[in-house]
Amino acid sequence: MLMDRIFQWIQMPGSPHKPRRITRAVQDELIGLCLLAPFMRTQLASPFHDEVFASDATLVKGSLVKAPLTPEEITWLWRRAPQRAGAVSLEFPGRLCALEGQRSPTVDFALQEWVQRRQFTTVCNYTFKRIRHVNIQESLLIRTLGKLLSRGKQFHNKRVFLLLDSQVAQGAGLRGRASSHLLNRVFVSLMPVLLACNIKLYVFWIQSLTNPGDDGTRDKPLRRALPMLDTVVKAVKLGAESCPRIFSIHKELYGGREKVFIHYFAGENDVLGEEFRKFGWIVIAYDILRNPAHDITDKKFLNFLIEEIRRLRPQASFLGPPCSSFSSWLYMQPWFSRTESKPWGDNEHPKERQGNTLLRATLVLID
């Protein structure tokens, strides 16, 4: 990614034996290479993250979606993932088709079948500020994903699967550089983020029609997963069995994890939590009514809750902050100051102030 101008400089016409001036841009790239070279090492003790992401871009919109992964699925995906520097290997096209589980130069139909039968959820949908070539927009989405991953500690020192439908962006992501200067510029700004957080992307190509990220870019509701087929489950299981080492590493990490449900503002009785307990979930309930120390407006307690989320990584949470001060029926009260254009009100009345503080804390927890 860093060697963009350098290659342009090398390819300039002229005798290779004649002295030539090195441009400032080439000098900068060489300095950048020297500075980053010590970081360009692969940490081998970094496992895969237990979620797969999918991205899609049009000229104006971008969408990122994700789905959870089991240890079997992680192993199965690793087995068929295009490997480092894979896209460079174009010398003997078709040589890998024959062996089962090798990456295919055509379409990986098994992967597509699996993707269609997995329920994805939206991470973000957004409109690009500028209209550019679709391959650049696809690469920008990879950069967006990189930035999002860098913000969460749980993604650091991890390998992450990404599905997309642009072979250009996939090739650039795998090779580490593209022949296009514009694409290289996008990846250059992504590289320090990935290097600093030690995140490695494994980029798959899937057809547009099976890409779940496609819906967000076309203002459609996210598609529902098709019913899972026995053949797909069997294929995933066989794939996991054929790579016992990778499977055991990820089973130790994610396989034995208990289902955790955190109930904030649970009240004294925690009715919802009781129902979850009946299904074998571990339920953690917080409410100031149960324990005066559970004051979510206290910064220390809020930080403790954030740490708990990072540590426990709950599969489900329920947050129902007191909403009485937001009721539209309160317009009859003289102190009520909330309007549609000013939903936070003037923050003067204690009830409104408390409602705002609790809502802000809730939003922090959701974020």
């Binding site: 020297c34 090492r41 003790a45 087995r79 490997q83």
Partner: protein, 290 residues
């Protein structure tokens, strides 16, 4: 083979070998290489003619493909595990192979020579062959593969794989472009460099990795090859494997650190000179900077 009335024979030259005073033979066979089909082109053609099954074709390609250090990045370790690296280097690997007699004419060296002059200069005449051909010029030919021959690396890699795979499963064999081995033991050969890499936990025995490495060594010995003792590594926690440095201490893989540092120093020195002088000479070989 003749091209534009000229015999397409190769030239030879030598370069010094690392750690020894011996010369490495290099054949300048560029013109002849350009006229020949590559191993893979021939394989594809024969595969189509003989309708070879895809699995067999894939196996042959898997065995003939060299591994690459970038594949080591796919190794996945637990934080408490360590490497056990075993490496062997086969001595004079190319020169232990021999082309079939029918291929001798493809490996001609130098210009045609006068037989009488050769005999006068003390050439060994096995079975009086040169004596019988005294009226005709002769051309020297290599009976073994040599560096510079485009098919030598591929075919000798097949030979290495055939010997090593007697005692290991094909799925554990590393080849660039193919899936990396799924287990704890990775094996591979780079023409004459054989490597066995194992990932071991705190209480794990080194025996399976050791057995695998020694079996490969024995297979080579059975086939009549000798190993270079000075280059062999046994149960090392870190080593440079085909250019990639594996380290148990850091649990990572990357470029060889001293070489990388030397390259950084060279680049910085060039840039400092460049900033001062505003230009540089394109060929860097022999520059007194490193």
């Amino acid at each position: 083979m003749w091209l534009h009335g000229e015999l397409l024979s190769a030239g030879v030259f030598g370069v010094t070998k690392k750690l020894t005073s011996l010369l490495r033979l290099i054949v300048d066979r560029r013109r002849r290489n350009a006229c020949e089909a590559s191993f893979y082109q021939t394989l594809r053609r024969l595969g189509a003619i003989w309708e070879l099954p895809d699995e067999l074709m894939a196996d042959i390609v898997h065995m003939s493909t060299l591994p690459h250090a970038s594949q080591l990045c796919e190794f996945m370790m637990r934080s408490d595990e360590h490497f056990s690296i075993w490496m062997d280097d086969v001595s004079d690997y190319y020169y232990r192979w021999e082309w079939p007699k029918a291929m001798l004419k493809d490996n001609l060296l130098g210009e045609p020579l006068d037989t009488r002059r050769l005999l006068d200069r003390g050439a060994r005449d096995r079975g009086g062959l040169l004596e019988s051909l005294s009226a005709e010029p002769v051309v020297a030919a290599l009976r073994c593969p040599a560096m510079g021959d485009q098919k030598a690396a591929t075919l000798s890699q097949v030979g290495h794989a055939a010997i090593a795979l007697r005692h290991c499963e094909q799925r554990d064999w590393m080849a660039y472009g193919f899936q990396v081995p799924p287990g704890s033991i990775w094996k591979g050969g780079y023409i004459d460099d054989a490597a066995t890499i194992g990932a071991l936990g705190p209480g794990d025995s080194v025996e399976p990795v050791r057995a695998s490495a020694l079996q490969t060594r024995e297979s080579f010995k059975e086939a009549g090859f000798e190993m270079k003792r000075e280059k062999s590594l046994e149960d090392k926690r870190g080593a440079v494997v085909w250019g990639g440095e594996l380290s148990t201490k850091r649990l990572d893989v990357g470029a060889e650190v001293p070489k990388m540092m030397a390259l950084i120093c060279l680049t910085v020195a060039v840039l400092v000179i460049c900033r001062g002088a505003g230009c540089m000479s394109a060929p860097l070989e022999g520059a007194p900077l490193c």
